[in-house]
């Protein structure tokens, strides 16, 4: 069983970090993982995306054309990658910056205004953590307590911003669960 998650957005939105934290938690859970950035001649504020592979066996090809899930943090990312997602997957949409939803009907869409929620938590910079926790709660790929501990560990050297990110994390989980309840 292998799951691939593409994280995409603007450079500076913390895409690579969200993806790394998910990979880290999955590794701690005992899975094989790989974190594959797309690197190229990019400029500040340009696009940033990367793929996390989580598998119960040794990971072969690190080249993923059709991910299981997509976390889209801005409109160009959604437009670029929505058609690549495998049927049955999740498309996560940051509705603070994406005024539309996907036309795909064979996927589950999770629409969350992550920037607005992060601002409520204290800083827009925590938007990536809101997205991470909301996506993780919806996809159930990793244990949420473990993931939260990984987030805390990541910010260990910047103790001041831990409460902000913990709050952002909880808010993300909460909204994903509310969405779940609504769908059910």
């Amino acid at each position: 069983m292998q799951t691939e998650i593409k994280f995409a957005g603007f450079g500076g939105q913390g895409i690579l970090l969200s993806a790394k934290l998910l990979a880290y938690a999955a590794m701690k859970q005992g899975s094989f993982v790989a974190w594959i950035p797309s690197y190229g001649p990019e400029m500040r504020g340009g696009t940033a995306y990367c793929t996390v592979v989580i598998s119960d066996r040794l990971i072969g090809s690190p080249i993923i054309k059709n991910p299981t899930h997509l976390v889209a943090m801005n409109l160009p990312s959604l437009e670029k990658f929505e058609n690549d997602v495998k049927p049955g997957g999740i498309i996560f949409i940051n509705s603070s910056l994406i005024p539309v939803t996907s036309k795909r009907t064979d996927v589950t869409q999770l629409v969350v205004p992550v920037n607005d929620i992060a601002i409520k938590a204290g800083s827009v910079r925590a938007a990536n953590i809101v997205a991470l926790s909301a996506f993780a709660a919806k996809s159930e790929l990793v244990d949420l307590d473990l993931l939260k501990a990984c987030v805390k560990e990541e910010f260990a050297a910047k103790a001041k911003i831990i409460p902000l990110n913990m709050d952002a994390f909880d808010r993300g989980v909460e909204i994903a669960r509310a969405d779940q309840a609504q769908t059910a």
Binding site: V33, A34, W35, G60
Partner: protein, 355 residues
């Protein structure tokens, strides 16, 4: 030690430290600059030295100097940088000094691109610099192997008193995977006193050591080249490393592939197996010495109809594969370069075309 999640480039830096490397000289170039970024922080903590050269040409000779003094030394670069260092690499090989060179290969020729490639196979295995020399070349297929090979590289460089190269590619440098560091290998080189210009006060032997690559006397030059040749023959006997994947089946096709490309082939082989098609892969882990006998034997299995070398190049390792198969099976080639790595589906199409 528990597993940690690290980028290939950072993991190579940490592996060098754990192998006892105290000297790292480099010049930044994408896609390997994170090695320097990592070591500039870590080396001083270990009492080591990081120095950025004014160019790769300078770095090559800084490596020569440290290696000649018997110090564990490494540099990392990417393709155009390795070209600039190649003169010094030839000198280091001639002077028989141990040093580790890591090439995180990007697309070429020229400045090429910054995406992964395997276009430096010829450069790594057939020379690069001038004269009769070889590098011992290892090609990891992921972060864990990059770590293990980097640590081995220092030991091998000292065993053979010569330059060893790790040939990765941009993807291995950039991606993060879980990695477990083997036990530290901080052993002192045993043969250092015999040759290193480490200073009379710092060694037992009072013999005058001279590190040089100039041999104007034809007999002396011939002898030096014969000594190098003897080392390469010993490497062929003792250092060949490879993996045969799915080799215990009645495979119809044998793939030869290494590094990142071999991982895509591995997935393609697993997918083909589900369709009932058996394909094996011989993955050289050392590119020099090349697994000559293993390639020949795997190709000659009765069930095997053809061999195909799949590379991120326009056809380089395939020449070694053809040499080893000795005409006993048709040898095909598929390669892409420019930075886009072929997908498993593409490889499956190519394989089916051979059946």
């Amino acid at each position: 030690m528990a597993k940690v999640l690290m980028k290939g480039n950072e993991a190579i830096g940490e592996a060098a430290i754990r192998a006892g490397c105290k000297n790292y000289f480099a010049y930044p170039i994408t896609p390997q600059s994170e090695v320097a970024e990592y070591l500039v922080k870590r080396l001083p903590e270990e009492g080591g030295v990081f120095l950025q050269g004014e160019s790769e040409v300078a770095v090559g000779y800084m490596i020569f100097g440290a290696a000649g003094a018997g110090e564990r030394v490494m540099t990392t670069s990417s393709s155009p940088g390795i070209s600039l260092m190649s003169e010094a690499i030839s000198y280091i090989a001639a002077a028989q000094c141990p040093a580790v060179f890591v090439n995180i290969v990007r697309g070429g020729p020229g400045l090429g691109g910054i995406l992964p490639s395997q276009g430096d196979y010829f450069q790594a295995t057939k020379g690069g610099g001038h004269g009769d020399y070889h590098l011992l070349v290892m090609a990891p297929d992921g972060v864990q192997e990059a770590v293990e090979m980097t640590m081995q590289a220092f030991t091998l460089a000292e065993k053979y008193r010569g330059p060893v190269m790790i040939m990765g590619d941009g993807l291995i440098g950039q991606m993060m995977e879980p990695v477990e560091f083997p036990d530290d290998l901080k052993t002192e080189p045993t043969n250092k006193d015999d040759w290193a210009t480490s200073g009379m006060d710092f060694r037992k032997s009072k013999k005058r050591n001279l590190v040089k690559s100039l041999f104007l006397d034809p007999t002396a030059l011939n002898d030096n080249n014969l000594a190098l040749k003897a080392k390469y023959e010993q490497m062929k006997k003792e250092e060949v490393q490879f993996e045969l994947y799915n080799g215990d089946t009645d495979y119809q096709i044998l793939i030869t592939s290494y590094g990142t490309m071999s991982r895509v082939c591995r997935t393609a082989i697993d997918m083909l197996k589900e369709e009932g098609i058996e394909v094996a892969m011989l993955r050289p882990k050392t590119l020099f010495p090349f697994p000559e006998k293993a390639v020949f034997e795997a190709a000659c299995k009765d069930s095997c109809k053809a061999v195909i070398s799949i590379e991120m190049s326009m056809g380089q390792m395939v020449e070694d594969v053809e040499r080893c198969v000795k005409g006993r099976r048709p040898v095909e080639f598929y390669g892409e370069c420019g930075g886009d790595i072929p997908s498993p589906e593409k490889i499956i199409d190519i394989i089916k075309g051979l059946l």
